[in-house]
């Protein structure tokens, strides 16, 4: 039996969920025995296989056109899409800026921060992705499995991945379910 391929990527997040994934420590050995870890932001391969993967994992909210592209690419190449962490599931911390007009949020970030001198300006290169409202993943593409948590605990992530690798649908409830 071939091992199911697993790929991951991150959007507007803090990488904390991937750090939590690494917190599974030596259990990663168990994981690679049952799953084929492919492209991830923390491995050399950066894009999920064009031929498709069984499980795609996305961390972070969708907050610009580049995130949208990554989300759509992952969705089109994976069978089961996992939203990992509060940003992907609910919008999380990046979604706090939705309460302000985009212009105001950018001005605050690039011009008005205490550490910015008078040269601060909002980047306007046409090559940059277009900013949008910060959204949860399911507002952009259909999501199969939601793993909330900020970040989800290593135990939860290990449980989810090992269940998926063995062809089962993980059920998060009771002590495995936490939104924070």
């Amino acid at each position: 039996m071939t091992k199911p391929k697993v790929a991951s990527d991150w959007l507007a997040g803090c990488a904390g969920c991937h750090m939590s994934l690494l917190d599974i420590d030596e259990r990663i050995v168990t994981l690679v025995q049952v799953a084929d870890l492919r492209a991830t932001p923390i491995t050399d391969l950066k894009e999920p296989d064009e031929t498709g993967v069984a499980v795609g994992i996305l961390e972070g909210a969708v907050n610009n056109s580049a995130n949208e592209e990554v989300a759509h690419r992952m969705r089109s190449r994976c069978s089961i899409l996992v939203a990992l962490g509060d940003c992907a599931v609910f919008g999380g911390v990046p979604a706090m800026r939705n309460f302000f007009p985009l212009e105001e949020a950018l001005r605050r970030a690039y011009v008005e921060t205490e550490s910015t001198d008078e040269t601060g300006k909002i980047p306007d290169s046409p090559e940059l992705a277009t900013m949008t409202r910060a959204r949860s993943l399911q507002e952009v593409v259909p999501v199969d499995i939601f793993v909330p948590g900020c970040p989800p605990s290593a135990d939860t992530i290990f449980y989810v991945l090992s269940e998926l690798a063995q062809g089962r649908k993980p059920v998060l409830k009771d002590e495995k379910l936490s939104w924070i």
Partner: protein
């Protein structure tokens, strides 16, 4: 009894029980949000939907009463789907973000409900439209983004406190919790009691002090009583590492049933006075740190028997401490000037009156809670003993009339049906006039002797309150079955006025309830610690100040004391003037019994560790002193509490 089954489990309940309460009695859990055991069922959140045989649609368990042979199911797919849908709608209505909300992680009923349904996400996005945050109030914040419109706060504000500050404006998605006619909370008629924070199921109403200082599961919780006034409200003290995080009303407390006033809930959190952690002894004109042995020896050297010492004790101290204090100074050191810091101002008149009548003459706070008309006689129920005011206010909206009698502007005047303002010093005439007016109306429950019309007219003339107003007030007050007169004995001053008040109570069939100053003023009165204080030829003064703030009057009265020992928990002008200062625990760091204004004996529990190793409880400090003086306290504090006739029956 009615029989029903819930999830095939047979249950028997009394008539009028809701399906929700029937399920609770049987140990079957139905999730709720807008329901609160101390509030009228509202049926607003729809989370408690259940399937009942014979009903076409799901029914809200919190509002539907049980009927005989009802068949209820709480665990079907239809019910579970409905619950998830309800929660989805609630989450999408405003902006709930668990990672940065301080109640998230155990203290949020909404999140717990979602966990209960194993929800891993919100199928619908949040509203994203920002809602305002009202941070205008000094003690708490109203965060509209997290409000689920369950109206618990509004019902608490109205049903429990009677303040009616909170309400809603608009309807549907535009519905908003507002204060008064939509003014910022800080500028509203809010009485700052914080009951709304205590009932809020989400993080919409949070208090500034405790936010982000830990979830309930990380805090130490101790049930005790508040010693802010003589009512004796039950509280729950939440603390962490010896610091008070917040104080909540104890829902199971017999006196207040969960409600608190701003003083009880917030004042202990904002106490920033400097604590005393070591004994101090005056050497070469300045107070120097010392150990207990040195301090006690220095104090004992000057505390001579045979009426050389004047002694004062705070009424915030326990009955055990008051008892020990009395025996130590009155019996041990044979002092004639042993009294409380209040000097019996709120109680001595009452004790004397009880003695002259030979029995207790007052009712209890339970009478206030179940009254159907109120008279407030020169008592400020807005700034002191506020919870008694809440009892009156919440019953007023059910039609209980309020008559206020005060020589000046009473804060309750604007709520009163009748506000009578007699000329200063003419309270007696007014009470006599009112008694006559009630008799003139034929509402008297006891025989009135004399010419009612003539008495009333004369009283109106003297007091400056018209006969029409006397008749109106008399009718409003006495045409009910359970009238209650709440009065403050401090400004009453004369036995004649108290006599007239008792006569009025007899004629109108009313219960009398008085406010009695400090938490243990009644106990101090029972121990006869109620004389006016005077420093005569005393060679020393000993003050058990505890955690009380010394009044200017006290500081002045003690200026002439040749030698002053102060037992206190905080530095103050009085400790600065003392010759020996003994550091003691604050009210939360010691335990003991308290006698409430209506004679209920309650135990205050130690809720915090002592502030430092050199700090002793007030009782321990007095015991150490007794030992130093080779005196032994005799007698039983509880038995002696009952020796003197009390104005109210003591339930000990």
């Amino acid at each position: 009894m009615l029989s029903l089954t819930i999830n095939n489990q047979p249950i028997e309940v009394t008539e009028g029980t809701t399906v929700l309460n029937a399920a609770r009695q049987a140990g079957i859990e139905i999730p709720t949000l807008c329901d609160h055991p101390h509030l009228t069922p509202f049926g607003g959140c729809r989370l408690c939907m259940v399937e009942i045989d014979g009903f076409r649609t799901l029914q809200s368990a919190c509002t539907i009463p049980v009927t005989n042979n009802m068949v209820v199911r709480t665990d079907t797919d239809k019910v579970k789907t409905a619950r998830k849908f309800v929660l989805t709608l609630i989450f999408s209505e405003r902006n709930h973000f668990c990672p940065y909300c301080q109640v998230s992680g155990g203290d949020c009923d909404l999140q717990n409900a979602a966990y209960g349904e194993s929800m891993t996400n919100w199928p619908m996005p949040p509203n994203w439209q920002p809602y305002p945050v009202d941070a205008s109030h000094p003690n708490f914040i109203l965060e509209h983004n997290r409000c689920i419109l369950c109206r618990r706060c509004i019902r608490a504000c109205s049903e429990l406190v009677g303040a009616n500050t909170l309400g809603v404006e608009e309807r549907g998605v535009k519905t908003f919790v507002i204060a008064d006619l939509n003014v910022p909370l800080g500028q509203s008629s809010c009485v700052s009691c914080g009951t709304c924070i205590q009932v809020c199921p989400t993080g919409a109403l949070i208090d500034r002090k405790s936010a982000y200082l830990g979830h309930e599961k990380n805090l130490d919780v101790q049930k005790t009583i508040c010693v802010g006034c003589s009512l004796g409200c039950g509280i729950q003290v939440f603390s962490r590492n010896g610091q008070v995080i917040r104080i909540e009303g104890d829902w199971d407390a017999p006196i207040n049933s969960g409600i608190l006033c701003k003083t009880g809930r917030f004042a202990p959190l904002t106490d920033d006075r400097q604590r005393l952690t070591t004994p101090l002894v005056r050497k070469d004109g300045a107070l120097q740190p010392a150990n207990w042995e040195e301090a006690l020896a220095a104090a004992a050297a000057k505390l001579q028997p045979a009426d050389q010492v004047a002694a004062l004790v705070s009424t915030r101290q326990s009955a055990e401490t008051l008892h020990l204090f009395k025996h130590l100074f009155a019996d041990g050191l044979k002092s004639s000037m042993v009294t409380s810091l209040e000097e019996g101002s709120a109680t001595s008149l009452l004790s004397q009156f009880a003695a002259s009548k030979g029995k207790a003459f007052e009712g209890t706070l339970k009478d206030v809670e179940h009254a159907d008309s109120f008279m407030v006689f020169v008592a400020d129920l807005v700034n002191q003993h506020e919870v008694a005011g809440f009892f009156a206010r919440r019953l007023m909206q059910n039609g209980a009339p309020l008559v206020v009698i005060d020589t000046g502007e009473n804060p309750l005047n604007n709520l009163a049906n009748c506000a009578l303002t007699p000329r200063t010093g003419k309270e007696l005439d007014l009470l006599t006039g009112l008694t006559a007016a009630i008799s003139r109306l034929g509402q008297n429950k006891a025989v009135f002797t004399g010419d009612a019309i003539a008495v009333m007219n004369a009283a109106a003339e003297m007091s400056g309150v018209s006969t029409e107003l006397l008749l109106e007030a008399g009718f409003k007050f006495a045409s009910t079955t359970r009238p209650v007169i709440i009065y403050d004995a401090t400004p009453v001053q004369t036995q004649d006025v108290l006599n007239a008040l008792v006569k009025l109570a007899e004629i109108s069939g009313a219960k009398l309830v008085s406010l009695k100053g400090g938490a243990n003023s009644l106990a101090a009165a029972q121990y006869e610690l109620d004389k006016p204080f005077r420093l005569n030829s005393h060679q020393a003064a000993y003050v058990v100040l505890g955690d009380e703030n010394p009044s200017e009057h006290l500081i002045k009265a003690l200026e002439k004391a040749p030698f002053l020992v102060v037992q206190a928990s905080h530095t103050s002008k009085l400790t600065a003037a003392a010759d020996v200062v003994l550091p003691v625990t604050s009210w939360l760091e010691q335990d003991g019994h308290y006698l409430s204004a209506d004679g209920q004996l309650q135990k205050a529990e130690k809720s915090l560790p002592a502030c430092g190793t050199a700090v002793r409880t007030n009782e321990e400090a007095l015991k150490s002193l007794a030992q130093q003086l080779n005196l032994t306290a005799v007698g039983n504090w509880k038995a002696e509490l009952l020796q003197r006739l009390s104005p109210v029956e003591i339930a000990a």
